[in-house]
């Protein structure tokens, strides 16, 4: 990094954070890109496709990785959190704590270690639909392309099989966390979102009925590189579902859960229905919705699904999902609150379109940066002390996140006086 440059710390290494970092660096700033997980890519890396173009998100991720690879002005810190922020715009001190990866830069990603690791853990990237070993590559599009050891499941030195196998001396089971402080002229928050905890939607059966899944799980199933190879599957027995129900606003637009709309779920479910149709030509689908919110050009996905004779769009809020314990078959009861009419539908697989919760809990923010009642970062009016982008500001579709992330970069430039 050129010491003469103005410095930006970007918190969050998903598509929004990566975009802020790259756009600012390509406009002349030096950037620390801080990601809590072991790889960049965020939630977008786990999506099956984007709507409305139905193209793979990894395509845009790859372009951004390519920009990163050739840009020495962005320093990437994975497994790292910001633990403290002091100072004011133009002169921040940001404390970074990096958890041990236990695999160092000598890792070539050859994968020999995986074969000898005796421990399995649920694959969080695949929302538990698959397993990894304790030493694993976060996903196929990992950045950096370096393995990581899950310290909570690894047996440590008493096992040490991976250490013996690795020819490159890349594994350090005793690695400790490190802390450092970096100076920054501006800070950008792009910590993204977490799916709403679907087990709290007790009437919808998630966590009790195996064949009730969430939309983020469905994305993994429908991803070509996902645990089911791009096909919808009933988790109870691995069979292809003949009937799928999508439950919109599962938690969103609900005073008892998230009293806001999560903005992406309508487009996501419509997109998922389109992908299911490619994989399962006979599958019957029903989408239960309150309003179908696909804004702007995203209208295309709604038009496509409306033209599908085997997919029904049913207006109504789902009140209950019940299960026949013998067959794991599900019954969806929907209620149109305005008209009082009820409808029932049998399904093999139920997909809950769970909403977005902003990742701001416990996040140290510069003074003056406010959160709203739901934890979203409040955009900072005319002054530009804190820059924020993506779903940490409000639920947003990809293209809106990219707009905001690009725009955040000029706010960072202005704040830093670059």
């Amino acid at each position: 990094m050129d010491p003469g440059r103005k410095t930006l710390v970007v918190i969050g290494g998903g598509m929004s954070g990566m975009t802020v970092a790259l756009e600012a660096a390509e406009a002349g700033m030096a950037v620390h890109l801080v990601e809590a997980g072991p790889s960049l890519g965020g939630r977008v890396a786990a999506l099956a496709r984007y709507f409305p173009k139905m193209c793979p998100p990894t395509c845009g991720i790859e372009i951004n990785y390519r920009r990163l690879r050739r840009n020495p002005d962005v320093v990437v810190h994975t497994l790292t959190r910001v633990t403290a922020v002091a100072g004011t715009p133009g002169a921040f001190e940001v404390t970074l704590r990096t958890e041990p990866r236990r695999v160092n830069g000598r890792c070539t990603a050859c994968g020999e270690c995986v074969a000898v690791c005796p421990v399995e853990r649920p694959d969080d990237f695949n929302h538990g639909l698959a397993k990894t070993r304790a030493i694993y590559l976060p996903h196929a599009m990992s950045y950096p392309m370096t393995y990581v050891i899950d310290g909570t499941s690894c047996k440590g030195a008493e096992c040490g099989e991976c250490v013996k196998t690795c020819r490159y001396g890349a594994i350090d089971l005793g690695e400790a966390a490190t802390t450092r402080t970096v100076h920054a002229h501006a800070i950008a928050v792009a910590t993204g979102w977490t799916p709403y905890d679907a087990t709290r939607l007790t009437n919808l059966g998630f966590g009790r009925f195996q064949n009730v899944v969430t939309n983020v799980m469905m994305e993994r199933m429908l991803a070509e590189d996902g645990p089911t190879g791009g096909k919808p599957v009933c988790p109870s027995d691995g069979r292809t579902p003949a009937r799928i129900a999508f439950v919109q606003c599962a938690g969103s637009r609900d005073r008892n859960h998230l009293p806001y709309c999560s903005a992406v779920c309508c487009g996501a479910s419509l997109k998922e229905a389109i992908i299911v149709r490619e994989a399962a030509p006979d599958c019957e689908m029903a989408i239960f919705y309150i309003d179908r919110r696909v804004m702007g050009r995203n209208e295309e996905v709604l038009a496509k699904v409306e033209a599908d004779p085997k997919t029904r769009l049913v207006r109504g809020k789902v009140a209950q999902v019940s299960e026949d314990p013998a067959t794991h078959a599900l019954r969806v009861t929907a209620e149109d609150t305005a008209t009082g009419t009820r409808s029932e539908w049998e399904a093999d697989l139920v997909v809950l379109a769970t909403g977005m919760v902003p990742n701001t809990e416990g996040l140290p923010l510069p003074s003056g940066c406010a959160l709203d009642e739901f934890g979203f970062v409040v955009p900072d009016g005319e002054t530009t002390g804190t820059v924020a982008a993506g779903c940490v500001v409000r639920p947003a579709v990809m293209t809106q996140c990219m707009q905001e992330a690009t725009g955040a970069a000029i706010q960072a430039l202005i704040t830093a006086g670059a």
Partner: protein
């Protein structure tokens, strides 16, 4: 300068087990290299040091690193002033094919030969930095334009803001109030436009030109010459980059006859209702009587294949706001909003929730079946309502919440570009070219679109959008100052050079460039404009005379790679194929296939290209006439929802295949020997089938008879 090529072979990650590296080394020596060394982990500190030491001791100008994919360790395998070529023996060879088999070994040896061959002519690019004009031109003085001007100016740039009307503000100036964009969500807010106008007018770096349009823009990013106004009042100035923020116009309500437009003056557009509110005159256009009951009809034109196929995004929120205008002014008034879906996304849901308890407001989903004047009222009938029965409302006034049409279908920029005066408008008339991932990109470099010209947006989104477009404009100037490319090859220092003595003025390069880079002189000779260029190489692929070259990527460089492939004679019965693959998507897909240890035929030699559009026909013809049995081209999906980062590269390549068929006919070869496949980056599991099927199909035709010539 003489090229001194040093070759480094890595034996790690299974390469040493899969290959006989002594034989690979022998092939490298035979191909001609100044030095060769091996290491069991070239990417390690020791390996990097070994290469660095070799460069110093042998004075190598070019290094061929035969190890893993160019997508990993790019930062390590880089030495200042040294051309580094990565030969992928890991993901594309050792991880993709059976170890210690002839096919695997032969592919590796060919790859090393190809890497060395590339170094014969390839040079490090020599950037030509220019000092750009730091002025940003903003066209359009609405919310997006004013915001873009303020952002660019606050970032230290001079801005010229050109607005065709006599006042700033654009459409938003007509608004009585806005709906809230942040908490509290309970009531309409003051229109921010007057404050914004004052800020723009007071900013020392912003010059506002009102009542004029852009008459002409010549030049290129960094050095546009902009003429504003006409005749006696025209003036010309320089600008480095441009933000287009020409906004939208409300959809023409008179086209909505199915919603009663034209049947009575009391059916109006939402824009006119805004005027009524601003003037505090809720009176019927027909007879001037007070308006006390209004029906708002949503999606008036929007979400309608006969009018605007897209959703105009702001109309639901806008009608909720407009209903409040009336109800706040007149406690006894009534408003009915008929919608298809109430679209108040994200936190705007809070405003919708607040609106639902507004006295006098009725909201229902409905499909409007007719709107007609009856006894001095306007009768609206609708079905499929939430009330469970058909709805008949007699109203004083019907407001059609008409959609937004981007202002792209008129003379805005008047560019002197050979490929047209305006930004090419793509789907639905919007000018953005990759709107999901890279929303500011248009098909013209250095010109970025923001606001409703690019997508239906509200005032809050237009602000964000303006910030993004301003950033891209500022960033473009930064890149020009370094002689570097902008998106998607950001930072690339190479640029195309034209050897014009051999140019036949066929104009293919100027016509095919997706970015309008090249102009022509009177004779039709192309004139390069490096700062307009994205470095995709489509011009290089188009040129039949092969006069377009980058320092590190040219027809001869790739041609030498093709020639370096060892073609066994026909009696050996070892067919050979070449795969030209897009380096952005197909190349990573092959990497991913390798990481999954997916096996496919080792007979294809893959050559990454900047874009499939840069593939020159001569590579194919030369390869076939040298006995290569077939050519596989793998590029991005094309069509309406194209995935090509250079917009049309793969599609252009596909079109050129017709010409390639002529070559096949001339050589009396079967057309099946060439195949173009569209592949997305995530479809790597299709690769074995794609490769194997092609190989089997062409194998069945028999060997190319030109082997040995």
């Amino acid at each position: 300068m003489e090229h001194k090529v040093a070759v480094y072979l890595c034996s790690g990650c299974g390469i040493g087990e899969a290959l006989d590296l002594d034989k690979v080394e022998a092939a490298a020596k035979e191909a001609g290299c100044a030095a060769i060394a091996r290491h069991d982990a070239l990417c390690s500190d020791e390996g990097i040091a070994l290469i660095g030491q070799g460069i110093r001791e042998q004075g190598a100008t070019h290094v061929v690193v035969c190890a893993c994919s160019q997508r990993v360790f790019a930062d390590r395998f880089a030495w200042p002033g040294v051309f580094t070529e990565r030969v992928n023996l890991r993901e594309h060879v050792a991880w993709a094919h059976a170890p210690r088999e002839d096919g695997t070994q032969e592919k590796a040896e060919d790859y090393v030969r190809m890497g060395i061959a590339k170094c014969g002519k390839a040079e490090l690019p020599e950037p030509v930095p220019e000092t750009p004009s730091r002025t940003v031109l903003v066209v359009g003085g609405g919310v997006a334009g004013m915001r873009a001007a303020l952002y660019a100016a606050d970032a230290g740039h001079d801005v010229v803001l050109v607005e065709k009307e006599q006042a700033l503000g654009g459409f938003a100036a007509r608004l009585h109030k806005t709906y809230p964009h942040q908490a509290p969500w309970d009531a309409p807010c003051e229109n921010p436009v007057p404050v914004l106008v004052a800020r723009v007018q007071a900013h020392r770096r912003i010059r506002v030109i009102l009542g004029r349009t852009v008459a002409r823009i010549s030049g290129a990013p960094g050095k546009f010459e902009v003429t504003v106004g006409a005749n006696g009042s025209a003036e010309t100035f320089s600008a480095g980059a441009i933000v287009v923020a020409t906004g939208f116009r409300p959809y023409d309500v008179s086209k909505l006859t199915h919603l009663g437009a034209g049947s009575t003056p009391d059916v109006i557009g939402a824009d006119r209702f805004e005027d009524m509110a601003r003037e505090r005159a809720f009176r019927r256009p027909s007879d001037g009587r007070p308006v006390r009951k209004v029906v708002f009809i949503q999606c008036a034109g929007s979400r309608d294949p006969n009018h605007l196929p897209y959703c105009s995004t702001t109309c639901c929120l806008n009608s909720l706001k407009q209903a409040r205008y009336l109800l706040d002014a007149d406690a006894g008034a009534e408003a009915v909003i008929l919608y298809k879906d109430m679209r108040t996304p994200a936190l705007y849901e809070r405003y919708y929730e607040a609106a639902q308890s507004t006295p006098g407001l009725m909201l229902t989903r409905a499909e409007v079946t007719s709107v007609q004047p009856v006894n001095g009222s306007v009768r609206v009938t609708a079905k499929d309502t939430l009330l469970g029965e058909d709805l008949v409302v007699d109203a004083d006034l019907v407001v059609l919440a008409q959609g937004k049409v981007p202002n792209t279908d008129q003379a805005i920029l008047n560019l002197t570009y050979r490929k047209g005066k305006e930004l090419p408008d793509l789907k639905y008339g919007f000018p953005d070219s990759n709107f999901i991932c890279f929303p500011y990109e248009t098909a013209r470099t250095g010109i970025y679109a923001a606001g409703c010209v690019r997508a239906p947006e509200d005032i809050a989104q237009a602000k964000t959008d303006a910030a993004g477009a301003a950033l891209k404009a500022v960033q473009c100037l930064h890149a020009i100052g370094r002689g570097a490319a902008v998106h998607p090859r950001a930072g690339d220092l190479s640029f195309p050079e034209f050897f014009l003595q051999r140019c036949t003025q066929c104009k293919r390069c100027t016509e095919e460039c997706p970015f309008g880079t090249l102009d022509e002189d009177e004779k039709g000779t192309p004139q390069a404009n490096p700062t307009r260029c994205r470095r995709c190489g489509v011009c290089m692929g188009a040129c039949p005379e092969r006069i377009v070259s980058f320092k590190d990527y040219s027809v001869p460089i790739i041609g030498d790679m093709v020639k370096s492939i060892h073609v066994p004679d026909e009696f050996e019965e070892k067919p050979r194929y070449i795969g030209f693959i897009c380096e952005n998507d197909a190349y990573p897909a092959l990497d991913l296939a390798g990481m999954k240890r997916t096996r496919y035929s080792p007979l294809v030699r893959f050559i990454p290209v900047r874009c499939l559009g840069s593939v020159n026909r001569v590579w194919i013809a030369d390869a076939l006439s040298r006995g290569i049995d077939g050519i596989l081209l793998i590029g991005c999906k094309f069509g309406d929802d194209y995935q090509c980062h250079f917009l049309q590269g793969s599609e252009l390549c596909n079109k050129r295949m017709e010409n390639v068929q002529e070559d096949l006919n001339r050589l009396s070869l079967e057309r099946e020997r060439i195949r173009l496949v569209q592949l997305a980056i995530n479809e790597y599991d299709r690769l074995p089938e794609i490769v194997n099927d092609f190989v089997e199909t062409v194998n069945a035709l028999g060997m190319n008879p030109y082997k040995g010539f």
